[in-house]
Symmetry: C2
Subunit: 208 residues, 2 copies
Protein backbone atom coordinates (compact mmCIF):
# COMPACT_ATOMS: atom_id res chain seq x y z
CA UNK A 1 0.00 0.00 0.00
CA UNK A 2 2.18 2.75 1.30
CA UNK A 3 5.83 3.10 0.49
CA UNK A 4 7.90 3.07 3.63
CA UNK A 5 11.32 3.12 2.03
CA UNK A 6 13.69 5.97 2.86
CA UNK A 7 13.55 9.00 0.62
CA UNK A 8 17.29 8.86 0.12
CA UNK A 9 19.96 6.53 1.45
CA UNK A 10 22.99 7.97 3.25
CA UNK A 11 26.17 7.70 1.23
CA UNK A 12 28.84 8.93 3.56
CA UNK A 13 29.80 7.83 7.05
CA UNK A 14 28.60 11.06 8.59
CA UNK A 15 25.09 10.79 7.24
CA UNK A 16 24.96 7.08 7.95
CA UNK A 17 25.44 7.97 11.59
CA UNK A 18 22.69 10.57 11.40
CA UNK A 19 20.35 8.11 9.75
CA UNK A 20 20.93 5.63 12.52
CA UNK A 21 20.74 8.22 15.25
CA UNK A 22 17.33 9.29 14.01
CA UNK A 23 15.95 5.77 14.12
CA UNK A 24 17.38 4.96 17.51
CA UNK A 25 16.28 8.31 18.89
CA UNK A 26 12.76 7.33 17.91
CA UNK A 27 13.14 4.10 19.86
CA UNK A 28 14.36 5.98 22.90
CA UNK A 29 11.46 8.38 22.75
CA UNK A 30 8.90 5.64 22.23
CA UNK A 31 10.26 3.89 25.28
CA UNK A 32 9.19 6.37 27.88
CA UNK A 33 6.38 8.07 26.08
CA UNK A 34 3.52 7.33 23.77
CA UNK A 35 3.45 7.32 20.01
CA UNK A 36 1.00 10.18 20.16
CA UNK A 37 3.54 12.33 21.89
CA UNK A 38 6.26 11.52 19.39
CA UNK A 39 7.05 14.45 17.11
CA UNK A 40 9.57 14.74 14.35
CA UNK A 41 11.16 17.76 15.98
CA UNK A 42 11.67 15.77 19.15
CA UNK A 43 13.25 12.95 17.22
CA UNK A 44 15.66 15.29 15.48
CA UNK A 45 16.55 16.97 18.73
CA UNK A 46 17.18 13.69 20.52
CA UNK A 47 19.22 12.43 17.60
CA UNK A 48 21.36 15.55 17.74
CA UNK A 49 20.40 16.44 14.22
CA UNK A 50 18.42 19.25 12.68
CA UNK A 51 14.90 18.77 11.45
CA UNK A 52 16.09 19.51 7.96
CA UNK A 53 18.52 16.63 8.06
CA UNK A 54 15.78 14.34 9.22
CA UNK A 55 13.67 15.12 6.20
CA UNK A 56 16.68 14.72 3.98
CA UNK A 57 16.47 10.98 4.44
CA UNK A 58 12.94 10.25 5.53
CA UNK A 59 10.03 11.49 3.50
CA UNK A 60 7.75 11.43 6.49
CA UNK A 61 7.37 10.43 10.10
CA UNK A 62 5.79 7.06 9.38
CA UNK A 63 8.80 5.96 7.36
CA UNK A 64 11.05 6.43 10.35
CA UNK A 65 9.12 4.23 12.67
CA UNK A 66 8.40 1.74 9.90
CA UNK A 67 12.13 1.25 9.53
CA UNK A 68 12.55 1.04 13.28
CA UNK A 69 9.83 -1.59 13.41
CA UNK A 70 11.43 -3.57 10.61
CA UNK A 71 14.71 -3.56 12.49
CA UNK A 72 13.26 -4.75 15.74
CA UNK A 73 11.03 -7.39 14.22
CA UNK A 74 13.90 -8.68 12.14
CA UNK A 75 15.96 -8.91 15.30
CA UNK A 76 13.19 -10.92 16.88
CA UNK A 77 13.05 -13.39 14.02
CA UNK A 78 16.80 -13.79 14.11
CA UNK A 79 16.75 -14.50 17.83
CA UNK A 80 14.12 -17.15 17.31
CA UNK A 81 16.02 -18.72 14.45
CA UNK A 82 19.14 -18.93 16.55
CA UNK A 83 17.17 -20.53 19.35
CA UNK A 84 16.04 -23.15 16.89
CA UNK A 85 19.38 -24.92 16.90
CA UNK A 86 19.55 -25.90 20.58
CA UNK A 87 15.80 -26.40 20.53
CA UNK A 88 16.01 -29.17 18.00
CA UNK A 89 17.87 -31.41 20.41
CA UNK A 90 15.32 -30.98 23.18
CA UNK A 91 12.04 -32.70 23.69
CA UNK A 92 9.57 -31.03 21.33
CA UNK A 93 7.54 -28.99 23.75
CA UNK A 94 10.61 -27.89 25.64
CA UNK A 95 12.20 -26.86 22.40
CA UNK A 96 9.24 -24.63 21.69
CA UNK A 97 9.40 -23.34 25.23
CA UNK A 98 13.02 -22.41 24.64
CA UNK A 99 12.21 -20.56 21.44
CA UNK A 100 9.35 -18.70 23.04
CA UNK A 101 11.49 -17.82 26.02
CA UNK A 102 14.11 -16.18 23.84
CA UNK A 103 11.47 -14.26 21.96
CA UNK A 104 9.90 -13.03 25.17
CA UNK A 105 13.28 -12.12 26.61
CA UNK A 106 14.15 -10.07 23.56
CA UNK A 107 10.95 -8.12 23.78
CA UNK A 108 11.13 -7.63 27.52
CA UNK A 109 14.53 -6.03 27.12
CA UNK A 110 12.85 -3.28 25.15
CA UNK A 111 9.33 -3.71 26.39
CA UNK A 112 8.10 -0.19 25.87
CA UNK A 113 9.46 0.02 22.35
CA UNK A 114 7.86 -3.21 21.24
CA UNK A 115 4.70 -2.26 23.04
CA UNK A 116 4.49 1.10 21.34
CA UNK A 117 5.23 -0.39 17.95
CA UNK A 118 2.83 -3.31 18.13
CA UNK A 119 0.07 -1.92 20.27
CA UNK A 120 -0.04 1.78 19.59
CA UNK A 121 0.78 2.14 15.91
CA UNK A 122 -1.87 0.57 13.68
CA UNK A 123 0.10 0.32 10.45
CA UNK A 124 3.00 -1.57 12.02
CA UNK A 125 0.96 -4.78 11.99
CA UNK A 126 0.95 -4.65 8.21
CA UNK A 127 4.68 -4.35 7.75
CA UNK A 128 6.47 -7.22 6.01
CA UNK A 129 8.72 -8.02 8.95
CA UNK A 130 5.76 -8.38 11.28
CA UNK A 131 4.07 -10.75 8.91
CA UNK A 132 7.35 -12.61 8.57
CA UNK A 133 7.61 -13.04 12.31
CA UNK A 134 4.18 -14.61 12.32
CA UNK A 135 5.20 -16.94 9.53
CA UNK A 136 8.21 -17.96 11.59
CA UNK A 137 5.84 -18.80 14.39
CA UNK A 138 3.99 -21.18 12.11
CA UNK A 139 7.20 -22.96 11.21
CA UNK A 140 8.10 -23.45 14.83
CA UNK A 141 4.78 -24.97 15.71
CA UNK A 142 5.13 -27.32 12.79
CA UNK A 143 8.26 -28.53 14.51
CA UNK A 144 6.17 -29.94 17.32
CA UNK A 145 3.93 -31.81 15.00
CA UNK A 146 6.53 -33.46 12.81
CA UNK A 147 8.62 -34.47 15.78
CA UNK A 148 5.73 -35.99 17.69
CA UNK A 149 5.05 -39.56 16.76
CA UNK A 150 1.36 -40.23 16.85
CA UNK A 151 -0.29 -36.97 15.95
CA UNK A 152 -4.03 -36.87 16.00
CA UNK A 153 -4.89 -35.31 12.72
CA UNK A 154 -7.05 -32.27 12.66
CA UNK A 155 -9.57 -31.86 9.87
CA UNK A 156 -8.18 -28.56 8.59
CA UNK A 157 -4.40 -28.46 9.00
CA UNK A 158 -3.81 -25.11 7.33
CA UNK A 159 -6.51 -23.41 9.34
CA UNK A 160 -5.18 -24.88 12.52
CA UNK A 161 -1.68 -23.77 11.67
CA UNK A 162 -2.98 -20.28 11.08
CA UNK A 163 -4.99 -20.24 14.29
CA UNK A 164 -2.17 -21.57 16.40
CA UNK A 165 0.36 -19.12 15.03
CA UNK A 166 -2.03 -16.23 15.61
CA UNK A 167 -2.63 -17.34 19.16
CA UNK A 168 1.02 -17.88 19.83
CA UNK A 169 2.18 -14.54 18.52
CA UNK A 170 -0.49 -12.75 20.48
CA UNK A 171 0.23 -14.71 23.62
CA UNK A 172 3.93 -13.91 23.68
CA UNK A 173 3.05 -10.25 23.39
CA UNK A 174 0.66 -10.52 26.30
CA UNK A 175 3.31 -12.23 28.37
CA UNK A 176 6.06 -9.79 27.42
CA UNK A 177 3.90 -6.74 28.07
CA UNK A 178 2.50 -8.07 31.29
CA UNK A 179 3.62 -6.45 34.47
CA UNK A 180 5.26 -9.23 36.43
CA UNK A 181 8.59 -10.55 37.55
CA UNK A 182 10.86 -12.65 35.40
CA UNK A 183 10.02 -15.85 37.24
CA UNK A 184 6.31 -15.58 36.56
CA UNK A 185 7.02 -14.74 32.95
CA UNK A 186 9.14 -17.85 32.66
CA UNK A 187 6.42 -20.06 34.06
CA UNK A 188 3.85 -18.46 31.79
CA UNK A 189 6.02 -19.01 28.76
CA UNK A 190 6.59 -22.65 29.56
CA UNK A 191 2.91 -23.15 30.18
CA UNK A 192 2.24 -21.53 26.84
CA UNK A 193 4.54 -24.00 25.16
CA UNK A 194 2.75 -26.80 26.89
CA UNK A 195 -0.67 -25.53 25.83
CA UNK A 196 0.65 -25.22 22.32
CA UNK A 197 1.71 -28.82 22.41
CA UNK A 198 -1.74 -29.79 23.56
CA UNK A 199 -3.28 -27.89 20.69
CA UNK A 200 -0.94 -29.19 18.05
CA UNK A 201 -0.61 -32.77 19.14
CA UNK A 202 -3.82 -33.41 20.97
CA UNK A 203 -2.46 -34.63 24.27
CA UNK A 204 -0.37 -33.38 27.13
CA UNK A 205 3.40 -33.66 26.67
CA UNK A 206 3.74 -35.22 30.12
CA UNK A 207 0.97 -37.73 29.60
CA UNK A 208 1.72 -41.36 28.98
Amino acid sequence: MIDFTPKKLPKQARSRASFDAIIEASAQLLSGGTYEALTTNHIAQRAGVSIGTLYEFFSNKETIIAILAERRMQALVTVMQNALIPASSMRPWEGVAHILESAVATMVAERDVYHALLRQIPFVRQLPAVRASRAAMTDFTQMIRVRSADVLNLPAPEMDAWLISQMLSNAILEIAFRNTDAATRAVLTRELARLTYRMAVGRDPEAG
Copy 2:
Protein backbone atom coordinates in the same frame (compact mmCIF):
# COMPACT_ATOMS: atom_id res chain seq x y z
CA MET B 1 -6.37 6.63 35.15
CA ILE B 2 -8.36 8.92 32.96
CA ASP B 3 -11.97 9.81 33.56
CA PHE B 4 -14.08 8.83 30.60
CA THR B 5 -17.46 9.71 32.05
CA PRO B 6 -19.61 12.29 30.26
CA LYS B 7 -19.20 15.87 31.31
CA LYS B 8 -22.93 16.24 31.77
CA LEU B 9 -25.80 13.80 31.29
CA PRO B 10 -28.72 14.79 29.07
CA LYS B 11 -31.88 15.49 31.02
CA GLN B 12 -34.46 16.07 28.35
CA ALA B 13 -35.57 13.93 25.43
CA ARG B 14 -34.10 16.31 22.89
CA SER B 15 -30.63 16.23 24.30
CA ARG B 16 -30.82 12.51 24.92
CA ALA B 17 -31.27 12.14 21.18
CA SER B 18 -28.31 14.41 20.51
CA PHE B 19 -26.16 12.47 22.93
CA ASP B 20 -27.01 9.25 21.18
CA ALA B 21 -26.62 10.72 17.73
CA ILE B 22 -23.12 11.86 18.58
CA ILE B 23 -22.03 8.43 19.71
CA GLU B 24 -23.57 6.61 16.79
CA ALA B 25 -22.21 9.17 14.35
CA SER B 26 -18.78 8.31 15.66
CA ALA B 27 -19.45 4.65 14.94
CA GLN B 28 -20.54 5.46 11.42
CA LEU B 29 -17.45 7.52 10.77
CA LEU B 30 -15.14 4.91 12.24
CA SER B 31 -16.68 2.34 9.97
CA GLY B 32 -15.42 3.66 6.68
CA GLY B 33 -12.46 5.64 7.81
CA THR B 34 -9.64 5.52 10.28
CA TYR B 35 -9.53 6.80 13.81
CA GLU B 36 -6.85 9.19 12.73
CA ALA B 37 -9.25 10.85 10.32
CA LEU B 38 -11.95 11.19 12.93
CA THR B 39 -12.46 14.77 14.05
CA THR B 40 -14.92 16.20 16.50
CA ASN B 41 -16.27 18.60 13.90
CA HIS B 42 -16.99 15.68 11.59
CA ILE B 43 -18.78 13.85 14.36
CA ALA B 44 -20.97 16.84 15.16
CA GLN B 45 -21.77 17.36 11.51
CA ARG B 46 -22.69 13.73 10.93
CA ALA B 47 -24.78 13.73 14.09
CA GLY B 48 -26.65 16.79 12.86
CA VAL B 49 -25.55 18.74 15.87
CA SER B 50 -23.31 21.72 16.37
CA ILE B 51 -19.83 21.40 17.73
CA GLY B 52 -20.90 23.40 20.76
CA THR B 53 -23.59 20.87 21.61
CA LEU B 54 -21.08 18.09 21.36
CA TYR B 55 -18.85 19.68 23.95
CA GLU B 56 -21.87 20.34 26.13
CA PHE B 57 -21.98 16.65 26.99
CA PHE B 58 -18.53 15.31 26.28
CA SER B 59 -15.50 16.92 27.80
CA ASN B 60 -13.25 15.64 25.04
CA LYS B 61 -13.02 13.45 22.02
CA GLU B 62 -11.73 10.40 23.87
CA THR B 63 -14.79 10.31 26.09
CA ILE B 64 -17.05 9.93 23.08
CA ILE B 65 -15.35 6.92 21.70
CA ALA B 66 -14.79 5.48 25.17
CA ILE B 67 -18.55 5.46 25.64
CA LEU B 68 -19.03 4.00 22.18
CA ALA B 69 -16.53 1.28 23.01
CA GLU B 70 -18.24 0.52 26.28
CA ARG B 71 -21.56 0.17 24.49
CA ARG B 72 -20.25 -2.20 21.87
CA MET B 73 -18.23 -4.32 24.23
CA GLN B 74 -21.16 -4.56 26.59
CA ALA B 75 -23.29 -5.69 23.67
CA LEU B 76 -20.70 -8.35 22.93
CA VAL B 77 -20.72 -9.68 26.47
CA THR B 78 -24.51 -9.77 26.48
CA VAL B 79 -24.58 -11.72 23.23
CA MET B 80 -22.17 -14.24 24.68
CA GLN B 81 -24.14 -14.56 27.88
CA ASN B 82 -27.31 -15.22 25.94
CA ALA B 83 -25.51 -17.85 23.90
CA LEU B 84 -24.56 -19.53 27.14
CA ILE B 85 -28.05 -20.92 27.70
CA PRO B 86 -28.37 -23.08 24.58
CA ALA B 87 -24.67 -23.86 24.86
CA SER B 88 -25.07 -25.54 28.21
CA SER B 89 -27.16 -28.31 26.70
CA MET B 90 -24.60 -29.07 23.98
CA ARG B 91 -21.49 -31.15 24.16
CA PRO B 92 -18.85 -28.98 25.83
CA TRP B 93 -16.70 -28.07 22.87
CA GLU B 94 -19.69 -27.44 20.67
CA GLY B 95 -21.15 -25.24 23.33
CA VAL B 96 -18.00 -23.16 23.27
CA ALA B 97 -18.11 -23.15 19.50
CA HIS B 98 -21.62 -21.78 19.67
CA ILE B 99 -20.63 -19.01 22.04
CA LEU B 100 -17.64 -18.07 19.94
CA GLU B 101 -19.73 -18.09 16.80
CA SER B 102 -22.18 -15.58 18.23
CA ALA B 103 -19.36 -13.37 19.37
CA VAL B 104 -17.73 -13.46 15.96
CA ALA B 105 -21.05 -12.82 14.22
CA THR B 106 -21.70 -9.78 16.37
CA MET B 107 -18.33 -8.30 15.53
CA VAL B 108 -18.53 -9.12 11.85
CA ALA B 109 -21.80 -7.22 11.61
CA GLU B 110 -19.84 -4.10 12.55
CA ARG B 111 -16.40 -5.22 11.58
CA ASP B 112 -14.88 -1.85 10.87
CA VAL B 113 -16.16 -0.33 14.07
CA TYR B 114 -14.81 -3.09 16.26
CA HIS B 115 -11.61 -3.09 14.27
CA ALA B 116 -11.10 0.61 14.72
CA LEU B 117 -11.91 0.46 18.40
CA LEU B 118 -9.77 -2.53 19.29
CA ARG B 119 -6.92 -2.21 16.84
CA GLN B 120 -6.48 1.48 16.21
CA ILE B 121 -7.22 3.15 19.51
CA PRO B 122 -4.70 2.23 22.19
CA PHE B 123 -6.65 3.28 25.26
CA VAL B 124 -9.70 1.20 24.39
CA ARG B 125 -7.93 -1.94 25.57
CA GLN B 126 -7.86 -0.51 29.06
CA LEU B 127 -11.55 0.23 29.34
CA PRO B 128 -13.54 -1.71 31.95
CA ALA B 129 -15.90 -3.27 29.42
CA VAL B 130 -13.02 -4.66 27.42
CA ARG B 131 -11.49 -6.20 30.48
CA ALA B 132 -14.91 -7.54 31.40
CA SER B 133 -15.25 -9.22 28.03
CA ARG B 134 -11.97 -10.99 28.62
CA ALA B 135 -13.15 -12.09 32.03
CA ALA B 136 -16.26 -13.52 30.41
CA MET B 137 -14.00 -15.47 28.12
CA THR B 138 -12.32 -17.04 31.12
CA ASP B 139 -15.66 -18.14 32.53
CA PHE B 140 -16.66 -19.76 29.29
CA THR B 141 -13.50 -21.79 29.03
CA GLN B 142 -13.98 -22.92 32.59
CA MET B 143 -17.22 -24.39 31.35
CA ILE B 144 -15.31 -26.86 29.25
CA ARG B 145 -13.18 -28.00 32.10
CA VAL B 146 -15.87 -28.55 34.69
CA ARG B 147 -18.09 -30.36 32.20
CA SER B 148 -15.37 -32.68 31.00
CA ALA B 149 -14.97 -35.74 33.11
CA ASP B 150 -11.33 -36.73 33.29
CA VAL B 151 -9.39 -33.52 33.00
CA LEU B 152 -5.65 -33.74 33.00
CA ASN B 153 -4.61 -31.22 35.58
CA LEU B 154 -2.22 -28.51 34.62
CA PRO B 155 0.34 -27.38 37.15
CA ALA B 156 -0.77 -23.75 37.19
CA PRO B 157 -4.52 -23.48 36.70
CA GLU B 158 -4.81 -19.72 37.08
CA MET B 159 -2.00 -19.05 34.65
CA ASP B 160 -3.50 -21.42 32.15
CA ALA B 161 -6.89 -19.80 32.50
CA TRP B 162 -5.30 -16.45 31.86
CA LEU B 163 -3.33 -17.69 28.89
CA ILE B 164 -6.29 -19.43 27.32
CA SER B 165 -8.59 -16.46 27.71
CA GLN B 166 -5.97 -14.17 26.21
CA MET B 167 -5.51 -16.47 23.27
CA LEU B 168 -9.22 -16.92 22.77
CA SER B 169 -10.07 -13.24 22.82
CA ASN B 170 -7.28 -12.46 20.41
CA ALA B 171 -8.20 -15.32 18.13
CA ILE B 172 -11.82 -14.29 17.73
CA LEU B 173 -10.64 -10.83 16.76
CA GLU B 174 -8.33 -12.30 14.15
CA ILE B 175 -11.16 -14.38 12.76
CA ALA B 176 -13.67 -11.56 12.76
CA PHE B 177 -11.28 -9.10 11.14
CA ARG B 178 -10.02 -11.59 8.60
CA ASN B 179 -11.08 -11.06 5.04
CA THR B 180 -12.96 -14.21 4.13
CA ASP B 181 -16.41 -15.55 3.49
CA ALA B 182 -18.82 -16.55 6.21
CA ALA B 183 -18.28 -20.26 5.62
CA THR B 184 -14.55 -20.09 6.22
CA ARG B 185 -15.13 -17.99 9.29
CA ALA B 186 -17.51 -20.62 10.61
CA VAL B 187 -15.00 -23.40 10.11
CA LEU B 188 -12.26 -21.34 11.71
CA THR B 189 -14.43 -20.60 14.71
CA ARG B 190 -15.32 -24.24 15.22
CA GLU B 191 -11.70 -25.22 14.86
CA LEU B 192 -10.84 -22.62 17.45
CA ALA B 193 -13.32 -24.16 19.85
CA ARG B 194 -11.79 -27.52 19.22
CA LEU B 195 -8.28 -26.26 19.82
CA THR B 196 -9.50 -24.64 22.99
CA TYR B 197 -10.86 -27.96 24.15
CA ARG B 198 -7.52 -29.54 23.44
CA MET B 199 -5.78 -26.90 25.51
CA ALA B 200 -8.18 -27.01 28.40
CA VAL B 201 -8.83 -30.71 28.64
CA GLY B 202 -5.69 -32.21 27.19
CA ARG B 203 -7.20 -34.38 24.48
CA ASP B 204 -9.23 -34.01 21.34
CA PRO B 205 -13.01 -33.79 21.81
CA GLU B 206 -13.54 -36.42 19.11
CA ALA B 207 -10.97 -38.82 20.48
CA GLY B 208 -12.02 -41.92 22.33
